[in-house]
C-alpha cells in the first residue's frame, strides 16, 4: 500500500475566488477553531491545506462537468452553523436501529457529536476496534496517521476538502489481519432539532487488514432535524485479500443536504461491496470512488435510490481500475416519484497498466410520474487495450402488462404497483449478502414506498 503523503502540499489560504455566503461562513468557522489547532500535530497542516483548497475551489457549479445536473446554489447561499446544543436522543429513540437476529456494535453520533452512553464499547471480539475518531487517536495513533486523509482526493473535491478541514469527529473501524468478524459495525449519525441549521462533517476511516473480513453500516438519519447539512467522508482501506461489506443508508430529512463520499482503496485480491440505500435528503450527492490498486481486486457497487416530492439525488460513481485482472460491477436502480430528480454518473477509468479489466455497469430507473426526471450518464475512460467494459442504462415506467397480470389475479392496483416497485428494488437488495441487514433495508424501503404497508403482510 502506498504511503506517499500528498497531504501537505498546500498550507496557506491564497486564492480569492468567487465564494458563496456559505463558504465565507465556513472559512470564518475554521478561523474560530484556531485554524484547526485541535488534535495531533500531524493533522494541523492537513486541515490547513484542506481549508486552503476549499477556499480555492469554492462551491462547484453546473459549469463543472461533474456537477452538471446538480445545482448547488441553494446550498452555497445558506449559512449553516457548527452545531451547538440540539435536542437529545435517548436509547429508546434508537430501539428500531437493530438488525433482527444479528447483534451489532453501534456507534452513535448526535448532531456530529459522539455519544458514548448511546454507543457500544470500542473493543469488539477478535481485536476489532469500533470507536470514535477522537478515541482512535489514542488507541491506534499510528494507523490513523498512516491512513486518514491519505486517499480522498481533496485537491479536486471541494466538499472532501471542507470535510478534511473540519475533521474532528467520526468513526474508526479496524479489523486486524486475518480476523473475520460477523458482527456488523453500525455507525448511526442522527440529526435532531438544533437552535440554528447545522453543518456536520462526519469522517469515517475503515481499515480492514490482510485476509480480514468485516461489515460496516453507515446510517444517516433525522430524528427531528429538518434543515441541516451533512458533509460526510468515509475512507476505506482494504488490505490484501480483505473482504468488506459496506452499506450506506441515507434517510435524512427531506429538507436536509447530504453530500457524502465513500473512497475505497483496494489492495490485491480484496473484495469490497459498497451498497447504497438513499431514501431521504432534499439535495443529495452520493459519491462512491473505489480504486482497484492491487491485482485481482473485486468491487461491487450496488444501490437503490428512491426520491419523491422535490428530492434530488445525484449518484456519482467513479471506479478506477489501476491494476490488472480486476473486476468491478455497478448496479444502481432508481425509483423516482412526484417531481423528484435523479442523476447517475458512472465513470469507469481504466489505467494503462490495468489490462484484463472486467468492468460492468447498469443503471435502471423507473419514473412514476411525468414530472419526475432522471439523467443517466455512463463515462468510460480507457487507457489499456485488453479490457472488457460494458454499460447500460434504462429509464422507463412500470410495466403495464405486469400490472394487469397481477390485477387479473385479484390484486388491487395499488398493491400491484407497490409489489412491482419493491420487485424493482429487490434486484439490488438480493445482492446484500447479510440477511439481517437486508431485512433491515427491506423494511425501510417497505415503509418508504407508497402503500408499502401492504407488503408487510406478505413477508
Amino acid at each position: 500500500m502506498s504511503t506517499v503523503d500528498r497531504r501537505e502540499r498546500r498550507s496557506e489560504v491564497t486564492a480569492k475566488v468567487e465564494k458563496g455566503k456559505g463558504l465565507e461562513i465556513y472559512l470564518e468557522q475554521f478561523e474560530r477553531l484556531e485554524n484547526g489547532a485541535g488534535g495531533p500535530d500531524w493533522l494541523r497542516p492537513v486541515r490547513r491545506a484542506a481549508i486552503a483548497r476549499s477556499s480555492e475551489l469554492g462551491f462547484p457549479t453546473v459549469r463543472d462537468e461533474d456537477w452538471k445536473f446538480t445545482n448547488l446554489a441553494p446550498l452555497a447561499k445558506k449559512a449553516f452553523a457548527l452545531p451547538a446544543g440540539g435536542a437529545p436522543v435517548s436509547l429508546a429513540d434508537l430501539a428500531g436501529f437493530v438488525f433482527r437476529g444479528q447483534e451489532s456494535a453501534r456507534l452513535v453520533f448526535v448532531n456530529g457529536r459522539y455519544e458514548p452512553e448511546l454507543s457500544d464499547s470500542c473493543a469488539q471480539p477478535g481485536g476489532v476496534l469500533a470507536c470514535s475518531l477522537s478515541e482512535s487517536l489514542e488507541l491506534q495513533p499510528e494507523l490513523v496517521k498512516l491512513h486518514l486523509a491519505n486517499y480522498l482526493d481533496y485537491e479536486h473535491d471541494f466538499f472532501g476538502a471542507l470535510n478534511t478541514a473540519f475533521v474532528e469527529e467520526g468513526s474508526f473501524v479496524y479489523v486486524p489481519d486475518g480476523v473475520a468478524v460477523e458482527r456488523p459495525v453500525h455507525l448511526i449519525y442522527v440529526s435532531t432539532e438544533t437552535p440554528a441549521p447545522a453543518i456536520t462533517h462526519p469522517r469515517n476511516l475503515v481499515v480492514v487488514g490482510e485476509a480480514a473480513e468485516g461489515t460496516v453500516v453507515e446510517e444517516y438519519v433525522s430524528l427531528g432535524g429538518e434543515e441541516y447539512f451533512t458533509n460526510a467522508v468515509t475512507e476505506i482501506v482494504a488490505g490484501p485479500g480483505a473482504v468488506l461489506e459496506h452499506y450506506r443508508v441515507q434517510r435524512e430529512s427531506r429538507r436536509a443536504f447530504n453530500i457524502g463520499t465513500v473512497r475505497v482503496q483496494q489492495s490485491r485480491s480484496s473484495n469490497v461491496s459498497c451498497h447504497g440505500v438513499h431514501l431521504g435528503g432534499g439535495l443529495v450527492r452520493n459519491n462512491v470512488h473505489p480504486v482497484l490498486a492491487g491485482e485481482g481486486a473485486h468491487c461491487l457497487i450496488n444501490g437503490v435510490f428512491l426520491p419523491a416530492g422535490k428530492q434530488h439525488i445525484d449518484n456519482f460513481m467513479r471506479v478506477e481500475h489501476a491494476s490488472p485482472h480486476c473486476d468491478s460491477r455497478q448496479f444502481y436502480n432508481g425509483i423516482l416519484n412526484d417531481s423528484a430528480t435523479g442523476v447517475f454518473s458512472g465513470r469507469i477509468v481504466v489505467h494503462k497498466e490495468a489490462q484484463k479489466t472486467d468492468a460492468k455497469q447498469t443503471n435502471r430507473n423507473l419514473l412514476l410520474t411525468d414530472e419526475a426526471q432522471m439523467d443517466s450518464k455512463p463515462q468510460l475512460e480507457i487507457y489499456a487495450d485488453d479490457v472488457k467494459c460494458t454499460h447500460g442504462a434504462t429509464v422507463g415506467q412500470l410495466d403495464d402488462d405486469a400490472i394487469f397480470y397481477l390485477r387479473a389475479r385479484g390484486v388491487p392496483e395499488d398493491t400491484a404497483r407497490t409489489l412491482l416497485l419493491f420487485g424493482f428494488a429487490a434486484e439490488n437488495l438480493e445482492r446484500m449478502r447479510l440477511r439481517p441487514i437486508r431485512d433491515y433495508v427491506e423494511n425501510l424501503i417497505t415503509e418508504w414506498l407508497p402503500h408499502g404497508e401492504v407488503l408487510k403482510k406478505l413477508r
Partner: protein, 254 residues
C-alpha cells in the same frame, strides 16, 4: 353464468370483434376455435378487463352483472380467471408473495378469512404437487426464467389456488409438449364441477382430446360462424377453418 351479446370491439380503430354472441352455463366447458387474427385473444382480454380495447357495442353479463363495468381485480374476485397465453415474467416479485396477495384479496372479497403466510404456503404446496411442478418454482420470482411449459403449468396452478367460477384458458396448449399438455389438461379436468364454467380458447383440436368440451364454437373474423359439439372440432381438423367460414353466420346455431 356468462352471456355475451352482440359484442363489438375495436383496437386502435381496427374492428376485431364484430357482433359476438355466446352463452355459457355453469358446469359447461365451451371451446372457441379459430384461425389467427380471428379475435380469440381479444375476447379473452376483454373478458379479463385488459386496457386498450374499445367496446363499441354489445354487452357482457356475468352472473347477471355487467362484467365490463368491473376492474380486472374485481372480476378476479368475482371468480373470473384468465390463464394467459403469455404469462408475464415479474422479476423481484416472489411467487409466494404474489399468490398470497391474490389469494387473500379473493378470499376477503368472498367473505373468507385471510390466510396467514404459513397456511397459504401449505395450500400452495398441496396444489402445486398435483401439477407435477417442483415446488422450487414457488421460491422464484413470478414466471422468471420459467420454461414455456412451466409458465403454462403455473397458470393452471394459480387457477387451482384461486378456485374461479369462470375460467378462460387462452391458448394454454400453445408451446406445450404432449406430457405437459396432459398434465395441464388433468389440472383443468380436476377443477371441472357443476358450479364452474370453462372457456377454452385454442387453435388446435389436440387440446380437446384431453379437455373434452360440451360445446365448440368457431370464431372467424370476429364472429362465431359455427357452433356444435365436440364433433365440430374434429370436422374442423379435417376440413379447416375455410370450410367453417363459408357458412353464413346467421346459420350458426348458438
Amino acid at each position: 353464468m356468462l352471456e355475451i351479446k352482440n359484442l363489438h370491439v375495436s383496437v386502435e380503430g381496427k374492428k376485431i370483434l364484430k357482433g359476438l354472441n355466446l352463452k355459457l352455463n355453469a358446469g359447461e366447458v365451451h371451446s372457441i376455435m379459430g384461425p389467427n387474427g380471428s379475435g380469440k385473444s381479444t375476447l379473452a382480454s376483454v373478458l379479463a378487463g385488459r386496457a386498450g380495447y374499445d367496446i363499441t357495442d354489445g354487452e357482457v353479463l356475468y352472473r347477471g352483472r355487467d362484467l365490463l363495468e368491473l376492474d380486472p381485480e374485481e372480476r378476479a374476485c368475482e371468480g373470473v380467471f384468465l390463464a394467459f397465453q403469455y404469462p408475464v415474467e415479474i422479476p423481484g416479485v416472489g411467487s409466494i408473495q404474489f399468490l398470497t396477495a391474490a389469494l387473500n384479496a379473493v378470499r376477503q372479497h368472498r367473505g373468507l378469512e385471510e390466510l396467514d403466510a404459513l397456511d397459504a404456503l401449505r395450500l400452495f404446496k398441496e396444489k402445486v404437487k398435483a401439477l407435477q411442478v417442483s415446488d422450487e418454482l414457488l421460491g422464484r420470482s413470478v414466471n422468471e426464467g420459467f420454461s414455456g411449459g412451466e409458465k403454462k403449468k403455473n397458470e393452471i396452478f394459480q387457477m387451482a389456488v384461486l378456485e374461479p367460477t369462470l375460467a378462460i384458458l387462452d391458448e394454454t396448449d400453445s408451446g406445450l409438449d404432449i406430457d405437459a399438455l396432459r398434465i395441464v389438461a388433468e389440472g383443468v379436468n380436476a377443477l371441472r364441477s357443476p358450479e364452474r364454467a370453462f372457456l377454452v380458447i385454442t387453435h388446435y383440436q389436440r387440446l380437446l382430446d384431453y379437455i373434452v368440451p360440451d360445446f365448440v364454437h368457431v370464431l372467424v373474423d370476429g364472429r362465431i360462424v359455427r357452433s356444435g359439439d365436440k364433433q365440430l372440432a374434429l370436422h374442423l381438423e379435417e376440413y379447416g377453418y375455410a370450410w367453417a367460414g363459408e357458412r353464413h353466420p346467421a346459420e350458426a346455431a348458438t
